[in-house]
């Protein structure tokens, strides 16, 4: 069972935390491990997931998409979760822990704004004060989500340091936490950060894979041949992959954002182009220059625009269990448009990277493929209009 006691997946993971945070991170770990064994915690979480989040989400057989690729393609509809993305599976779990720990204030970082909205939502529902850190650049790209968070009663704090995107929002949230560690719970949105976050977020997200596994067995009577998900920090991918890890016949593929291409230097393909480093509390693969400075990243989708990746993904790549491919900005955009026209589903640009990978695969007759639609695309209308013009054909 991974991670080990110190939070490592092989050589990746750990608790590279400033000492001021150590006590609270240890306390969180203990609280989570207790909750995990406590039937009343599971009952409470299951209740909210069913009646508030809207789970289980459907596993939808996309017939027109299937016809195009000559394989049976199923979509795991995380876009149908309350708030429009998988992020709330995790924020719901973490806020229940925050309540158990008696914390009165919630903070979070956000890139695309989906994790911010999912955090603001559960904070509103439980009546907790909430502040979300968001890079100035992302605030510009995702103004709709900024307004949603404010409407939900959350304070959105613009981050102007560094590259003004997700990594810097995470830095600022960490600084806030250092200052207010006694009162504040930090809801990290990805399978990144200090142990126990990568494990805990994976566990909360793995409901995606558990449902999908059961649903495909019910629909097809067998396991899928492929499961595909996009990878930024990697929470939706970890969530859908995890319950399939022991099913050796199931090929798992994570798709990173290649942006304008690896050679252009404008991408977020951490596992494809990075090397070992320590960022935001864990040892993993990190995009960095030759001196070890963390690099600025680029992706058409704000949610994939991150120079790190969860340590478990680094491990799964190293042992060869998961393959990590890439999709360019324009490939993701094309996949987004294609799904919209063929299936009447507008996916998030993040999820569109997973869909773009369908173009690159080879299919055997009768192959079954599951693609995780991690979120819906409403938030991306501004970006898509910028790329295509308003008179999209």
């Amino acid at each position: 069972m991974l991670p080990d006691k110190k939070g490592f997946f092989g050589k990746y993971g750990g608790k590279y935390a400033p000492e001021t945070l150590r006590a609270v991170v240890d306390e969180l770990e203990a609280c989570y491990l207790r909750a995990k064994k406590d039937p009343s915690f599971k009952k409470e979480l299951d209740y909210y997931l069913e009646y508030y989040v809207g789970r289980p989400t459907p596993l939808y057989r996309a017939d027109r998409l299937s016809k195009r690729y000559g394989a049976k393609i199923y979509l795991k509809r995380e876009d149908l979760c309350h708030t429009g993305a998988h992020k709330i599976n995790n924020t719901m779990g973490q806020i229940l822990l925050a309540r158990r720990m008696g914390k009165k204030r919630i903070i979070a970082e956000t890139g695309a704004g989906q994790h911010g909205v999912a955090t603001a939502t559960v904070a509103a529902m439980f009546g907790l004060k909430c502040a979300v850190y968001m890079g100035e650049e992302d605030i510009r790209r995702q103004s709709l989500n900024v307004f949603r968070m404010r409407l939900l009663g959350t304070e959105v704090i613009p981050v102007t340091s560094g590259t003004k995107t997700l990594k810097d929002a995470m830095n600022e949230a960490t600084r806030d936490w250092l200052k207010n560690v006694d009162t504040t719970f930090y809801i990290i949105g990805s399978v990144a950060g200090y142990h126990p976050y990568p494990m805990m977020v994976r566990d909360f997200q793995s409901i995606i894979g558990r449902e999908a596994r059961k649903q495909i067995l019910a629909a097809e009577g067998r396991l899928p041949d492929n499961v595909i998900a996009c990878v930024g920090g990697g929470s939706n991918a970890m969530g859908i992959f995890y319950p399939f890890l022991n099913d050796k016949s199931v090929k798992l593929t994570g798709v990173e954002a290649a942006g304008l291409g690896i050679k252009s230097g404008k991408h977020s393909a951490t596992l494809n182009a990075g090397r070992v480093g320590v960022l935001h509390g864990a040892k993993s693969i990190v995009l960095q220059d030759k001196e070890g400075q963390i690099m600025g990243t680029h992706s058409i989708s704000a949610g994939l625009d991150y120079p790190g990746v969860g340590p478990e993904h680094a491990y799964l790549k190293e042992i060869g269990r998961v393959k990590y491919g890439m999709a360019l900005d324009r490939e993701a955009l094309a996949a987004c448009i294609l799904l919209s026209k063929l299936e009447g589903i507008i996916p998030a640009l993040e999820s569109s990277h997973a869909l773009a990978y369908l173009e690159k695969m080879e299919y055997r007759r009768g192959s079954i493929v599951i693609v995780n639609i991690s979120g819906r695309g409403d938030k991306d209308m501004g970006t898509i209009m910028e790329y295509t013009g308003e008179n999209i054909k």
Binding site: K6, G14, K15, Y16, A17, P18, E19, T20, L21, R22, A23, V24, D26, S161, G162, K167, D168, N171, T174, R175, L178, K179, N180, V181, D182, V276, G277, V278, L279, H280, G281, V286, Q288, K290, E291, G292, Q293, I294
Partner: protein
């Protein structure tokens, strides 16, 4: 022998000053080091800039951004240390984030740091119980790794950190990041506890910006660490090296007088 063994001297309170390498240029760092040594500080902390300094407040963040933009690296900071070491006897340590060391090569970092005349390192995001191999190699090499203790640490963890830290123990005076605070009494009660268990010097930092604050803290600690307020002074002097030299002397004196 490590130069930092001089910090065990109990006849005085020690003053430690932090300066960011390459902020706003290496020439300023060189001037600052000579001036700090001349003025009688006990230890000079040389910061090496990192793109994501989570433990630092706005002052040091800004200095780091300037330093990175100017091309500051571990290698050229070591070059500078090698040069000033010809005349400066004051102990010097690096303060930097772990990713830079990992990228440089952990053992090579220790070897090269010792070669250029650096006595140890403070790494705010490396707890004592990660990277066992790095710790062992430093110990074998006589290179001091200074660990930080926070007022939020549990007593048992505090004890372990104190045991493992070399040269001195860095006490984080208050929660939060580096940089000036208006009210800076800090968590002095915990400091007393640590003083009781530590058989090595305990220096306090984070949030001390004035000689008055330093003098209060020095009633409890063996020394005080000043970072952001000196970085602000360097920023004010810009490229005026003569001014930097004079102002540094005055700055150090104002603190030493109250310790």
């Amino acid at each position: 022998m490590n130069r930092m063994d001089s910090l065990k001297d109990k006849t005085k309170k020690h003053l430690v000053i932090y300066t960011m390498a390459g902020d706003p240029e290496m020439k300023a760092t060189e001037t600052a080091i000579y001036s700090l040594a001349d003025a009688g500080v006990s230890l000079i902390e040389i910061g090496i800039p990192f793109s994501d300094p989570v433990a630092d407040g706005p002052t040091i963040q800004r200095a780091g951004e300037i330093a990175i933009a100017g091309g500051t690296t571990i290698a050229n900071t070591m070059e500078l240390v090698k040069k000033v070491r010809k005349t400066v006897e004051t102990p010097m340590v690096f303060m930097l984030y772990y990713n830079l060391i990992l990228s440089y090569g952990t053992e090579k970092f220790i070897d090269d740091a010792i070669k250029c005349g650096i006595d140890g390192a403070i790494i705010p995001d490396l707890p004592f119980d990660e990277e066992e191999g790095f710790y062992e190699y430093a110990k074998k090499s006589g290179f001091y790794i200074i660990y930080l203790v926070s007022p939020t640490n549990t007593p048992s963890r505090m004890k372990k950190i104190v045991e493992k830290s070399s040269g001195f123990v860095y006490y984080i005076l208050q929660k939060g990041v580096t940089g000036a605070r208006k009210k800076s009494s800090g968590e002095l009660k915990e400091l007393r506890v640590i003083k009781k268990i530590a058989k090595k010097p305990v220096f306090a930092g984070f949030g001390i910006s004035t000689p008055e604050q330093a003098s209060v803290v020095a009633n409890y600690a063996d020394g005080v660490i000043i970072g952001s307020s000196f970085v602000s002074l360097v920023e004010k002097c810009g490229s005026d090296m003569a001014k930097l030299k004079v102002e540094t002397g005055k700055f150090v004196k104002s603190f030493l007088k109250r310790l």
